[in-house]
């Protein structure tokens, strides 16, 4: 009985740790099985899953999304996002989402930032499955959402992703 109670407790604990989206370290070593990955779905569905029916405004004046026009190798496409915003506790960019419209799992990455970031700037290299749009969504401290898109021509696909 005792062993069972402990198991249940630890399960609840890990569930709680997984649910909390804080900067605290998660206790669970997440798995890489298909079931634990984001589902394969069209990008609109991912957008719906992430942002529901919240209004998303055009972020052209705020967000600089840098990508090559032509990506020779879809397996490694340099990308950077910079959002013009103060980074104070009262007003800052809370998160930057990067999505690739043509990837089976469109969400490439979610970057959570804090005022300690100083600047809402992130960069990485993406895998792109096909020619299409890459979008960056900035989520502000007050919950406001802004989006920009850039089209990238992929010469050699980043394969199944």
């Amino acid at each position: 009985m005792r062993a069972r109670a402990l198991t249940r407790r630890s399960l609840l604990k890990t569930a709680a740790a997984g649910a909390a989206s804080t900067l605290l370290p998660r206790r669970v070593a997440a798995q890489g099985t298909l079931a634990s990955l984001a589902p394969e779905e069209p990008v609109d569905k991912t957008m719906q899953r992430l942002f529901g029916s919240r209004p998303i405004r055009d972020g052209a004046a705020l967000i600089a999304l840098e990508l090559p026009l032509i990506a020779e190798d879809g397996g490694n496409v340099a990308m950077s996002v910079e959002v013009k915003s103060p980074m104070t506790p009262q007003s800052h960019v809370k998160a930057i989402y990067v999505l690739s419209d043509r990837n089976p799992r469109p969400l490439n990455a979610k970057f959570l930032l804090t005022p300690g970031s100083g600047q809402a700037y992130v960069a990485t290299s993406l895998r792109l499955a096909d020619t299409g749009d890459v979008r960056a969504v900035a989520e502000m401290q007050d919950g406001g959402l802004f989006i920009v898109k850039r089209s990238v021509r992929v010469v050699v696909a980043g394969c199944a992703i």
Binding site: S36, Q119, G158, C159, A160
Partner: protein
């Protein structure tokens, strides 16, 4: 060839105290992508980096939730405010319990 699990962190320039600096962190890691057979994804436990935590002077300042659609040997550029001289630490976590980190001292002027 670098070894799997090696982390490199580079801070650009010599940031003044109170300024915002940029840095880049790189991990040598296959960051496996999902395989397909006849169009169907193969169900196995893929090894990829799913989380990166950046801390400066003992405080977590950014966290990245990442996926198989980040390239092999994932690298991340980011900014941080140099509030005081301190240690910049970047920790990569993968789906197989791997934890790879590197700390660099930032000597602000």
């Amino acid at each position: 060839m670098s070894a799997i699990g090696e982390v490199k962190v580079r801070v650009f320039g010599s940031p003044a105290r109170g300024s915002v600096a940029r840095a880049r962190a790189l991990l040598i890691h296959p960051n496996e992508r999902v395989e397909r057979k006849g169009g169907k994804p193969v169900d196995r436990n893929y090894r990829f980096v799913n989380r990166v935590v950046v801390s400066y002077a003992g405080r977590d300042i950014a966290e990245f939730d990442t996926s198989t659609s980040i390239g092999e040997n994932p690298s991340f550029g980011f900014a941080f405010r140099v509030t005081e001289p301190g240690t910049l630490k970047v920790t990569f976590f993968d789906t197989h319990g791997g934890r790879f980190e590197r700390a660099v001292e930032v000597k602000s002027a």
